[in-house]
Amino acid sequence: MAADGLHENETLASLKSEAESLKGKLEEERAKLHDVELHQVAERVEALGQFVMKTRRTLKGHGNKVLCMDWCKDKRRLVSSSQDGKVIVWDSFTTNKEHAVTMPCTWVMACAYAPSGCAIACGGLDNKCSVYPLTFDKNENMAAKKKSVAMHTNYLSACSFTNSDMQILTASGDGTCALWDVESGQLLQSFHGHGADVLCLDLAPSETGNTFVSGGCDKKAMVWDMRSGQCVQAFETHESDINSVRYYPSGDAFASGSDDATCRLYDLRADREVAIYSKESIIFGASSVDFSLSGRLLFAGYNDYTINVWDVLKGSRVSILFGHENRVSTLRVSPDGTAFCSGSWDHTLRVKHFRVTNEAEIWVE
């Protein structure tokens, strides 16, 4: 009926304007308690000294762009996925390949290692997330035991196991995130709210273990309650797609890397952005970010083939690392913080050792 149609249009417009005014009020509220900047507080912290960096392992074996990687909890194994559909499990300490699977799709943009170390999950343009139990049985074809867990209506951009092997959290180009039961493939909870593709997610190391953050092409980073499916907090200060989000080790904040060439730190208790990591000479997007164990350093991989290392507290750049011959697509610090691994479109993964030193130390290389 014409009357109903009009009613709907009014509601849409009025909702939109209500949302805008609420956003304005929210910014006002957030500003009220902002009494100091991070770099001011950090003035009394000692500046970081020299550092040494060396690539310790180069993993070659992917015939195509490496898109994603994840460490195993044993601190030496990792899984990586690439554009040609290959997913490989490496013992990166010895550089041996332990398992390899070819997915039936290309652009495997997401992969994750199960907490037990007994399975991996991956997905991409097939719009699904599949779990492969890892087997050393030579007679068994890994693909035979594959479990199709998640089903989205667009590409899978990120996936992560929760605290156990039995649940998986996924993010997709269809604008939603979802929590799945691995055994049955049942959808446990879905998360709607992004206005465009969701590109990344990270689980909170919080005490209650019930939230996660996601970032998307709508420039928003959203924090979700896993139980209710509701968005708890949202931050919209980036100027372009958010490619990567990662929690600060204490769980009270998270960092994001974006195509606007900046990384930003958002504090959850203060409910605002508290730091921007940028430099005029950095003009390419950041594709992947991760913290060192103590949260003092933020490693960020960029589309200009470099990795920039930021002092989280002081906001300055500690170092720029070269070494890849194409854009860095994924970067993760190892679970015990002894090294970090970067994967790139140049087909390689590199495990790098980075160490901040005092000038008094003599480093024998």
């Binding site: 392992r57 300490f93 037990s116 139980r227 430099k279 901040v356």
Partner: protein, 470 residues
């Protein structure tokens, strides 16, 4: 990138320019790259009657300028400059086949904005065909292998329009002949650069490639239709967010300082690790000593249990000792209950009913063997919820018990003799220096994959212990 390029061309602050002789022609505004004596150059030969907005700069001048303007080191400036060239914003006047930046006297010019990659002017096949045809006509045999291949392919593909292609090509060449030689050369370079970016030779990475779903082709992508639901949700989320309790910035930021300084010594990147970083010395003793269920935890590890309750519980060894302590205090059922709740929350959906029942029988039922002391209101609500068991039915009870342990048992644990003894007995490994001579390097031990070991019931990681000696 374009902002940078535009700044570089600024006559006052941009890269220094000079005129340059190239072969027999004089290129207006060619900037040479000798070591600039500092100061952005506005000098040099004033603009001659050149139709082209682009002006020349030279390799090392460009690097210098980048270094000064953005306060970066030479390697970064070179890298950045190279990227600008690779993306076609700058092109070399000599040897225009290779898009790379040489930090010497090699002259470069700025690409005209018409050819910028961001204009998203689709590099159509027809245009490419015309370009190749022109090249072929002008000088037989200048087409490189891959270009020849493309040429033949296109010839087959758009055979029907081939007359048009040849006609366009000849027409453009004729028009070009009417320009001055200098301008002609410049235009040819510009075009060549454009096609080098859009049709890179085999082996060279294509800088235009983007991931699926994003990139230049999706620039005009239609955003998700924002339905009524979308805005309703957004409004709800915003209302909730407004009601949120906030903490002032100074408190939050101080917390980072505290966290970083507390955890600094535990961060191998900041403070190294003992006996040595396995990646550096190829010795995995560090991993063996810090295996999840090692008998003798290191001093650092034991100290970390005092940082927060969460960190104590996350460590299997810490948790086990805490359980022992609770046993001494006759409240071990609290931790067991908490663990059972974790298993429920993170376990498989199919196990939910059985687990809930088991928990009820063991911990919640009146007269249960290991009855946990929850406040009556929470207990009532929990018991009521048990009629319809789901993964989160024990969340409130779990939270209650967690807070109880955190506020009560945990502080006592930290002051206990048990903990003090653990700290005193904890191992402090001796440092193993890196061997200087590489040929004495230890062989890297492989370790059994976690996938080979039987998985524990709670799905906790069974870490791969290294073979290294303890």
């Amino acid at each position: 990138m374009e902002r940078m390029v535009v700044t570089m061309q600024d006559p006052d602050q941009g890269v220094r320019m000079r005129s340059q002789r190239l072969l027999v022609t004089v290129i207006p505004h060619a900037v040479n790259g000798e070591a600039a004596e500092g100061g952005g150059g506005g000098g040099g030969v004033p603009a001659e009657a050149s139709a082209h907005p682009g002006v020349c700069r030279a390799g090392s001048d460009i690097v210098e300028w980048l270094m000064q303007k953005y306060s970066i080191a030479e390697d970064e400036a070179l890298h950045l400059g190279s990227l600008l060239v690779q993306h076609g914003y700058l092109y070399p006047l000599r040897d225009p086949r290779r898009l790379e930046l040489r930090p010497d006297e090699t002259p470069y010019r700025f690409q005209t904005p018409y050819f910028w990659t961001s204009t998203l002017w689709p590099a159509a096949e027809l245009d490419y065909a015309i370009y190749l045809a022109k090249k072929n006509i002008r000088k037989q045999g200048t087409l490189v292998d891959h270009e020849k291949e493309h040429y033949h392919q296109l010839h087959r593909k758009i055979n029907h329009a081939w007359d048009l292609v040849m006609m366009q090509a000849r027409e453009q060449l004729r028009a070009a002949k009417q320009r001055r030689k200098g301008d002609r050369l410049v235009i040819a370079c510009q075009e060549q650069t454009y096609w080098l970016v859009n049709r890179p030779p085999p082996g060279a990475p294509s800088v235009l490639e983007q991931g699926p779903g994003r990139g230049p082709c999706t620039a005009g992508r239609v955003p998700m239709t924002k339905t009524l639901d979308f805005y309703r949700r957004e409004v709800e989320c915003l209302r909730r967010a407004l009601g949120r309790a906030r903490v002032k910035s100074s408190t939050c930021l101080e917390a980072y300082l505290k966290f970083s300084s507390q955890h600094g010594p535990h961060d191998p990147i900041m403070s190294g690790c003992l006996p040595s970083n396995p990646w550096v010395t190829d010795d995995d003793a560090y991993w063996a000593m810090n295996a999840p269920s090692v008998a003798m935890p290191t001093r650092l590890r034991v100290e970390q249990w005092a940082f927060s309750f969460r960190e104590l519980l996350e460590d299997p060894v810490g948790r086990a000792h805490f359980m022992d302590f609770l046993g001494q205090e006759f409240s071990a059922e609290n931790l067991s209950f908490w663990e059972a709740c974790e298993e429920l929350r993170h376990g498989g959906q199919a196990q939910v009913p059985a687990l809930v029942d088991a928990v009820y029988q063991q911990f919640l039922a009146p007269g249960a063997a290991r009855w946990v002391n929850i406040d009556s209101r929470t207990m009532e609500q929990t018991l009521a919820g048990l009629t319809q068991p789901h993964r989160h039915v024990l969340d409130d009870a779990q939270r209650h018990i967690y807070l109880l342990m955190k506020k009560d048992s945990y502080p006592r644990f930290l002051k206990s003799d048990l903990y003090r003894d653990l700290r005193a007995e904890a191992v402090v490994p001796l440092e193993t220096k890196r061997r200087v001579f590489p040929f004495m390097r230890k062989p890297r031990h492989s370790s059994p994959s976690p996938a080979l070991l039987p998985a524990s019931a709670s799905g906790e990681p069974v870490g791969g212990d290294g073979d290294g000696e303890t």
